[in-house]
């Protein structure tokens, strides 16, 4: 029985459909993933909104400055939740069902990751509606496309991270680590303020954190115009992080069932 790429795609689609059940069949399942980044968006803009008055702050609206961070956080939360779900599936034995099938291991991983990347569009949509209502500037079609690309990319990245940890620890108790990893990655960047205004250790970390490039590329449409020069470093950083974490997750998968 030769298994071609068409069969692979069908398998991935079937796994994505299965993952979607949680949202479609459990009332309120989408709420936590939407609520947390929305509260952080509303809270942080209210609390730190006047930072824009500092000399050197290149945006006049903190909402516009912060919205890409919240979009990424929403994707991070959602993606990491995929890792928690995988840990649950491993604990309960469901994942064995997938592992004893002849489906390629990369297809099983792709099913998880793609569903996370699609699911991360839900908090993004809510955040954008809330943001625009509160005066976030229109990023232009290019900026919006860029934001969507980064959101899906972050959802993928977070899911890879969560799945790698789930395969390593095989337990839902690794959940805080899954969430904290993404939280730290996204916030140790130019999340709160432009690089020149960051102080101490965060200034240094943000300068070298590849996620800073991702933040900046997602932000460009909201605080100015989209340019290729601000776009490619972000896409490159995203692709590099994805490659590393995908290798990490696939290795975990092969170790679990070779």
């Amino acid at each position: 029985m030769s298994v071609g790429w068409r069969a692979d795609i069908e398998m991935i689609a079937a796994l994505v459909r299965r993952a979607a059940n949680e949202l479609l069949r459990v009332p309120g399942a989408a709420i936590p993933g939407v609520l947390a980044p929305t509260i952080f968006f509303l809270g942080l803009t209210s609390v730190f909104g006047h930072l824009t008055l500092l000399p050197g702050f290149d945006s006049s609206s903190y909402q516009s400055f912060l919205i890409p961070i919240s979009l990424m956080q929403g994707a991070g939360f959602t993606g990491a939740a995929t890792g928690v779900n995988l840990a649950r599936d491993i604990e309960q034995g469901w994942f064995d069902r997938l592992l004893v099938s002849p489906a390629p291991r990369s297809v099983l991983l792709a099913g998880l990751v793609i569903s996370a990347s699609l699911r991360s569009l839900i908090p993004a949509a809510v955040l954008l509606v809330v943001g625009f209502a509160l005066g976030v500037s229109w990023p232009g079609v290019g900026g919006l496309v860029m934001a969507v690309v980064i959101v899906m990319g972050m959802g993928t990245l977070a899911a890879l991270w969560g799945c790698a940890l789930a395969l390593k620890f095989r337990s839902q108790s690794a959940a805080p680590l899954m969430q904290a990893g993404m939280f730290v990655l996204i916030l140790t960047t130019t999340a709160y303020a432009p690089l020149a205004l960051l102080t101490g250790w965060l200034h240094t970390v943000a300068k070298y954190n590849p996620a800073t490039q991702i933040v900046e590329s997602a932000r460009q449409g909201f605080v100015g115009g989209v340019s290729w020069g601000d776009t490619w470093p972000g896409l490159l950083a995203l692709a590099a992080l994805m490659a590393v974490l995908a290798a990490f997750a696939l290795r975990g998968m092969r170790r679990t069932a070779y």
Binding site: P32, L35, A36, I39, F40, L42, G43, L44, T45, S46, V47, F48, G49, H50, L51, L53, L54, Y62, S173, A175, P176, A180, F183, V184, L187, T188, A191, Y192, A193, L197, L198, T199, G200, W201, L202, H203, V205, A206
Partner: protein, 261 residues
Amino acid sequence: MSLAADLRVIWALGGRAVKQTMRRPQLFAPIIVFPTLLLAIQTGGAGRGVDLPGFPQVNGFLDFILAGAMIQSTLLAANSGGIALAVDIEMGFTDRLLAAPISRYAMVLGRLAGTAVLGAFSAIWFIVIGLIFGAQIDEGVPGAMVMIIFVTLSAVAFGGIGAAVALRTGKASVVQGLFPLVFVILFLSSAFFPANLMLEPAATVAQYNPISFIVEGVRDPVISSLSLNAFAKAIGSIALVGAISVGLSAFALRQRLRMGG
């Protein structure tokens, strides 16, 4: 029975609550690790906020935000204490306590004692972290003592809210659902930034939020000399929140006993 016996039970239950938290990373991480991470990130990210006109005179942003981290930590400890109590109710552990010849209130007081210890721990943890990373407590050792006492007392006051919800509903998932509320309350207070520099409408809410008064009472010994005004507002707020929350807990406990026997 005797007061001594009750105290022993409260002591034992409090010890159990503390051990429960310290042994489980899922419980410990949100209470200590998460506020510490956020403290580090906000200090680096919003640290230049001290240059804004209207920001109180401080040695550094870390000095300002330290109290916010402590209160965040105790609010989260209160939430997780409530979850633990609800789990005890769900699993029938509290029935065993209720069947014992001790005061009915011991099971709640034991849980609150545990939360108080976690509060004291968090105060000490953040004082140490602050001192390591360059914060200065203007009022010195007595100031630090005042901070620890305030944070410990507010842990009890906040813990009462968690306990009241746990006793009223008996469901861990409901108490867990309060988790986002912790952040709503904090963002609507002066925990992370001076209220006068926040955006409306949060700025106005923060000026009257009792959490603001509590945070400012804990902050006062760090950034200035202890003022009677801040001290009184903090004590008053803790007493107010505490009276309401402990009262609600007692009421919820009595109702639970009447219903379930």
